[in-house]
Each structure stands twice: as C-alpha cells, then as structure tokens.
Amino acid sequence: MSDLEDKLYTVKYTPDTKSHLQPVQECCRVCKSKICTTICPAGVYEWDENMQKLIVNYENCLECGACRIACESASLGWEYPKGTKGVTFKQG
C-alpha cells in the first residue's frame, strides 16, 4: 500500500467536498468479488468488514472509469468530477 501512496503523492488533485463515485451499498454487501477494491489503479475502494460498507477514497480517483465497467452488478454511480475539481495530469 505504501508504494501506491508514494505514487499517488505525485498526482495533483483538487478534491471536491462531495464524491463523484456513489456505490449502492446494498449491492456491495452481496458482491462476491468486490473487484473495484483490486483493479482500481488508485486504490480508491476499500471494503470495511466491520461496517459492512464500501469506503470510497474519491479524492484519489484518477478518473479512468475502470471501476464503472468492472462493477459486477453495474450499480456504481459514476460521473466525472465537476469541471474545476479532480485530477490534473501534468505529464500525461
């Protein structure tokens, strides 16, 4: 995890106060693979076993869209952050 943190540290973000990623928690609870927690290149999603809840670190989102396509139940609410928010790549 620390390796990923080092990587994300290099990315410029302007985070919004509200998440642009809205999982439907009832779907997440019954989702077997919770594949978003694996494939997300920014580790945005974490499953909290105690709370039985998908934690969304949307501030780290790289806006690739992989989670939306990978979501098993196709239930993830996904939109681009507001125009003034989100990631700014300088070296893309």
Partner: protein
C-alpha cells in the same frame, strides 16, 4: 431555453486531439464553434504512452514541428520479449529525414493545440463538464453543463473512451471489460545526458520500447517505454477483463515490470514525477459505435478509434475529428443536420485508413484472446529459451541441444494444441492480409 446568446453553429465536447482537430477545421472554414473541455486545460485529463505521429499531425497543424512543444523525435523501435528473467530484443533504427513520430507530454502538447485552435477562432470553454445532451424532436440540439445550456446545430462528441454522452443517446451500449485495457504509467525524471547514454541517442532523438511478457506473461497486456527530453514514460496496459479474472492490481504489475532485469537499468536512480492511469479502447472494429445521428457525430476514443496492433490512437483521433469537422462545414452550408446529411462522415471514414485499418485487425484481439496463454505466454518464453540454448557454451554438442529443444516443443504441450496455435495463427494472418 434557446436564445441568441447561448446558440452557436457547432459544439465540440472534449478538448483532446479529436475535438481540437474538429473545432479548428470548422473555425478555419469560418464557422462558429465552441469547444468544451472538462479539465483545467487541454491535456490535463489525458494520458497516453507517449508519441504523436508526424504526418497526420501535419494535416491539422502544418508547421507543428517548428512551433509545438515536442520532446524527442523517435529514431528507434525496440520490441522486447521478456521472459521471467531474460529477454530477447529486436530493434529497428533509422534516422528518418522526416521523423515518423515525436514523444510529447499531453499537458503541454494538447494545450498548445488548443491555443492554436483559439487563434483560429475557436471559443474554448475549460473546466466545464457536459452532463447531458439536449435532444429535441429526435435531433441533438445542444448540451447541458453543470451551470447552463448551450444550443447548436451540431454537437460533436470527442469526450473520450468513457463517452457517457454517446451512451446517453443510444449511439452505443455500455462498455464491457473485454473492450478496454486499463493502463497505468509512471513518468520518471532522468537527466538528458543519462537518457542519451542509456538509449544510445542524441539530444533530440528518442527510442520506443514495446514490451511483451515479463510480469504480463500469458496475459493480454503490453508494456511501453518512451523517452522524453528529461524523463522516461514507462507503463503498461492490460485488458480489464484479464485484470478482473486474475484479480491483479495494475500498479503491482507495473512495479514488477520496472524491476525486470532488462528494464530496471534503464530507469535506475530516476525520480518519479507523476503516476497516472487511463482506459484504452480495445474493442476495435466490432465495437465501433454508431458514428452519427441527427445533429451529432462521434470521433476519437469515444468512437473506439484505436489501432491496438500499431499503437495508434491520437492519429485516428485527429483525422476523425477533421473528417467530422469537414462534414459539419458541408451540413452548415446546406443547413441540413439530418442523419442523412451527417452520414457523409461515415462515408469519409470508410474511405480513410481509419475504418480500413480497424477492419483489417477486426479478428486480431478475439484470435489472441482465444489463445492468450500460448501467444503471450508460452511462445515468448520459448523464444527466450531458444536463445538461451543457442548462446550457451557448455561443452554439450550442438546437435544434441537442437534435438532437445525441438523435442521440447512437442512434449511441452499436446500436439493437438500445437495444431490449434498454428490454425489460429493462419486464420489471423488470413484475416489481416486477405479477408
């Protein structure tokens, strides 16, 4: 509501290579065009491997080689077939009089293109997300952003691989994990002289690595490395379905690639400047959406215009944008924005290399997907083991070694599998060259 203030001739959604090429084509023809970019500036939400192609770029920006922010002109293509620890590398090098491609940094290059578009008369609106298309009487009539509505005669969608807008109006269905590759990339800072030495190039010359195998052995995925002026871009793209099936974290693969003995010395002591990720359209011809409708056209990544065999994307984006722009100019001349009028765009695409190339490779991904363990796992390893055998000096007679190697081909796997590989390869060749 539509009124004089919020109505223009064409709205282009997305300020990348496709959208800018479309908008500048329209502006040069004297048309009113608004280009809407969701990032702080063009290029700020874009990621690619690294190179733009000179000839197609010249079609839009004839003097770009004098004016645009370019990194290095590529003089060498290396194809590196990585085993677990070893590597076989094929290289083609030529110092072309007219370079084929240049590495660029999108945050600089796209921004430059957008500035050129502004100079030509395009109205660029940054930091604005189009949330929805406005459809009236079956015609796309404009866009709804977070703040307001803009109306136009034509809307061109150049909103990238995720194109939620093309989906909204039913030009395409939802993407599935087989249709996209997830790419992660790191830009690693290195002094110019170090890059020159490590890659055997002069100051303004660059080298491209296409990387097979290594941590991606047996997977539908490829690595890449490009040299910039003072940095190296290294990354990989793996089909999303493959990452899901094997439950792999993409950045773990990248870390493994970076530590492969063939790659590690190239980036040694470099400092990570930026990490990034993006989706690449991989669906090819079979997944190209409907490209036009009444009052609307789709271009670039939004239209799945990527030739994954040749790593071409920005060129297809630019040329498709240009063709959409030219079609819009004709439609505006006739004041006809119907589906029939805009079908001209499809015809132009069919006559261009864009649809022709996509058609040429339409069976490629499917064919490789069928036998991915073999084509991207077993054979790359086998090629490396051949060279390991061929270069070994151990007092074992050569004929004995050859026989052992040949025998292994027939004993590693079932003979019937060999036939299947051969048959798939023949089918693929047939589909590329003849069908």
């Amino acid at each position: 509501m539509e009124n004089q203030e919020n109505k223009t001739e064409v709205i282009v959604v997305g300020g990348g290579p496709a959208g800018i090429s479309c908008a500048i084509t329209l502006a040069r023809a004297g048309k009113q065009v608004i280009l809407i970019e969701r990032g702080k500036f063009s290029g700020s939400k874009n990621v690619f491997g690294g190179a733009i192609y000179a000839q197609p770029t010249r079609e839009i920006f004839p003097d770009f080689e004098e004016n645009a922010p370019l990194e290095r002109k590529n003089i060498e293509h290396k194809y590196a077939l990585l085993g677990e620890e070893d590597a076989t590398v094929i290289s083609y090098k030529k110092r072309h009089e007219n370079p084929v491609s240049y590495t660029v940094i999108r945050g600089k290059f796209d921004r430059w293109m957008a500035d050129e578009a502004k100079k030509a008369g395009v109205i660029l609106v940054e930091e604005t997300v189009v949330r929805e298309l406005i459809v009236q009487d079956g015609f796309v009539k404009g866009v709804r952003t977070e703040l307001e509505e803009y109306y136009s005669d034509i809307v061109v969608l150049a909103d990238g691989v995720n194109s939620l807008l093309a989906k909204q109006i039913g030009l395409r269905g939802d993407l599935s994990p087989e249709d996209v590759a997830l790419s992660v990339k790191e830009v690693i800072k290195l002094p110019q002289e170090v890059i020159n030495e490590r890659f055997h190039v002069n100051d303004d010359e660059g080298c491209i690595y296409e990387i097979f195998g290594g941590p991606m052995l047996g997977m539908l995925g490829l690595g890449f490395l490009y040299t910039n002026k003072n940095s190296v871009s290294i990354g990989l793209g793996v089909t999303l379905s493959e990452l899901i099936e094997k439950s792999i974290r993409p950045y773990d693969l990248l870390d493994k690639l970076k530590s492969h003995p063939e790659i590690a010395p190239l980036i040694k002591d470099g400092e990570l400047m930026e990490y990034s990720a993006h989706l690449i359209p991989e669906g090819g011809y079979k997944k190209v959406p409907l490209l036009f409708g009444a009052g609307v056209m789709v271009c670039g990544d939004a239209a799945m215009f990527v030739n994954n065999m040749h790593w071409e994307g920005t060129n297809l984006a630019m040329i498709s944008g240009k063709l959409a722009g030219e079609t819009a100019v004709i439609a505006l001349g006739k004041q006809d924005f119907s589906e029939t009028a805009l079908s001209h765009y499809q015809e132009e695409l069919e006559n261009s290399f864009i649809i022709k190339d996509l058609r040429t490779y339409q069976d490629l991904m499917g064919g490789i997907q069928e036998r991915v363990e073999e084509f991207l796992g077993y054979y790359p390893k086998k090629i490396n083991s051949f060279f390991e055998m061929f270069t070994s000096v151990d007092s074992v007679p050569k004929r004995e070694k050859y026989h052992k190697f040949i025998k292994s081909i027939f004993t590693d796997r079932k003979i019937s599998d060999l036939f299947k590989d051969f048959w798939t390869a023949v089918k693929l060749l047939w589909s590329i060259l003849i069908k």
